[in-house]
């Protein structure tokens, strides 16, 4: 068993416990203790789940990018497992952020969907991640799979800011950004649960990343060992 995996096994519990604690406190503060917003009323409580999800999906993509560069540099299969895990998690967090965003959009903007700059760039991000995950299923050689996936992740990461700026310019050209949250300063009553939830989500992501990396590593290990056993079987039969 890999040394890193053994270390993950030992310490991952702390991240899980920290995430659970922060999230429970954050949920209590967000759902019960905090006051409703002056403009949006009670609906503002959706922010405490939506914004941390969105932050975390970007964090996950950043981890994916860093891991991809690291993989291309060192070619460590465990780093590739981490990238694969981060991509899957980023896809989950991005789609949840989109769904909660849609639910927030209905009562505030009276529409489920709008081609707002952020929504559009998050959709593009989700499409890139789905492409990445699909790509990984279409390659047989694990080494090549890891290499190509890393290339796609890096290109996608470089592309994201450009996509965001282009969509933003495009929207401002067509209609004033009436739906922007910017400029509305968030009071500290609202900010504290938000920070709590953001920290909790980041910890949860770290915990999930550790678990998923382990899962992919163990699956590969089992495959490799089974294959080796299979090979031994063939070998003894051929020799007898």
């Amino acid at each position: 068993m890999n040394k890193v995996i053994r270390r993950i096994q030992r310490y991952q519990g702390w991240f899980g416990a920290g995430a659970a604690g922060c999230l429970l406190v954050g949920l209590y503060l967000g759902l019960i203790a905090s006051p409703p917003d002056y403009y949006q009323g009670e609906v503002v409580r959706i922010m405490y789940i939506h914004v941390p999800l969105a932050h975390t999906s970007l964090l996950a993509y950043t981890v994916l990018f860093g891991g991809s560069v690291w993989y291309l540099w060192k070619r460590d299969p465990l780093v590739d497992n981490m990238c694969h895990a981060a991509a899957g998690l980023s896809a989950v967090f991005t789609s949840l952020a989109l769904f909660t965003g849609m639910i927030w959009g209905k009562p505030t903007w009276n529409t489920w969907w709008t081609w707002d700059a952020r929504l559009t760039s998050f959709t593009v991000l989700l499409l890139i991640l789905i492409g990445y995950l699909m790509l990984r299923t279409f390659i047989d050689d694990p080494e090549r799979e890891a290499r190509f996936a890393a290339v796609v992740a890096i290109i996608g990461f470089v592309d994201l800011p450009i996509v965001h700026f282009s969509v933003e310019w495009w929207r401002t050209l067509h209609q004033p950004q009436s739906f922007s949250l910017r400029g509305v300063s968030i009071s500290s009553d609202l900010l504290f649960p938000l920070i709590m939830m953001s920290i909790g989500m980041s910890l949860l992501f770290t915990y999930m990343l550790l678990v998923r990396t382990q899962m992919l590593y163990l699956t590969n290990l089992l495959h490799a060992k089974k294959g080796r056993l299979l090979g031994q079987f063939h070998l003894s039969k051929a020799d007898s």
């Binding site: 068993m1 899980g16 659970a20 429970l24 949920l27 209590y28 759902l31 019960i32 409703p36 949006q40 009323g41 009670e42 609906v43 409580r45 959706i46 789940i49 939506h50 999800l53 989950v92 949840l96 769904f99 909660t100 639910i103 927030w104 209905k106 009562p107 949860l204 915990y207 999930m208 678990v211 998923r212 382990q214 899962m215 163990l218 699956t219 290990l221 089992l222 060992k225 089974k226 080796r228 056993l229 090979g231 031994q232 070998l235 020799d239």
Partner: protein, 169 residues
């Protein structure tokens, strides 16, 4: 495996407590009554009433925060006397939530605050959509890891990398 289910059990208990607290908070502080309920029960404490401002009944100085109108429910209407901060959302034929007290002697509702209509369905929906899939995802992932460890340990495959010597006779 037992430890794994135990951890999740504790988490589920914590989440359930949170749900109960949220529900009670909603029932106590944020639940609204209809004008019919107010008329039938004549409550004495401060309450929240939800209804529609009837057309042609709104009068008073809105800039100074004084107004009177009829709040319509399904069947009955409730005469309302509003005194408080200048309201932004007060228009005829608009659904409102009023916070105040029912004065039985004058049979009017003395409102001191006005709130936006809340739609708890959206808030609950967002939290369910956001958290439940995440929890399920994590649960099945964690269970898979436990199962994989068990499989590796139970099978004869479990041996350190260096021990796996391939005999190439």
């Amino acid at each position: 495996m037992t430890a794994f289910y135990l951890r999740w059990g504790i988490l589920v208990v914590g989440a359930t407590i949170l749900v109960v607290l949220t529900y009670r908070n909603y029932e106590e502080n944020l639940a609204t009554m209809t004008p019919e309920q107010v008329l039938a029960n004549s409550p004495t404490e401060e309450i929240r009433v939800k209804g529609l401002v009837r057309g042609g009944t709104l009068r008073g100085e809105l800039e100074e925060g004084r107004a009177s109108f009829d709040l319509a429910g399904e069947k009955d209407t409730l005469p309302v006397q509003y005194e408080g901060p200048p309201p932004e959302n007060l228009r005829e034929l608009k659904t409102l939530i009023l916070i105040g007290k029912w004065k039985t002697p004058t049979r009017t509702f003395q409102a001191r605050e006005m709130a936006l209509v809340t739609n708890y369905g959206f808030v609950m929906g967002a939290y369910i959509v956001g958290l439940i899939p995440l929890a399920l995802f994590l649960f099945f992932m964690g269970r898979k890891v436990c199962l994989l460890y068990d499989e590796i340990k139970q099978s004869t495959l479990y041996q350190s990398e260096s021990d796996t010597h391939v005999d190439s006779r």
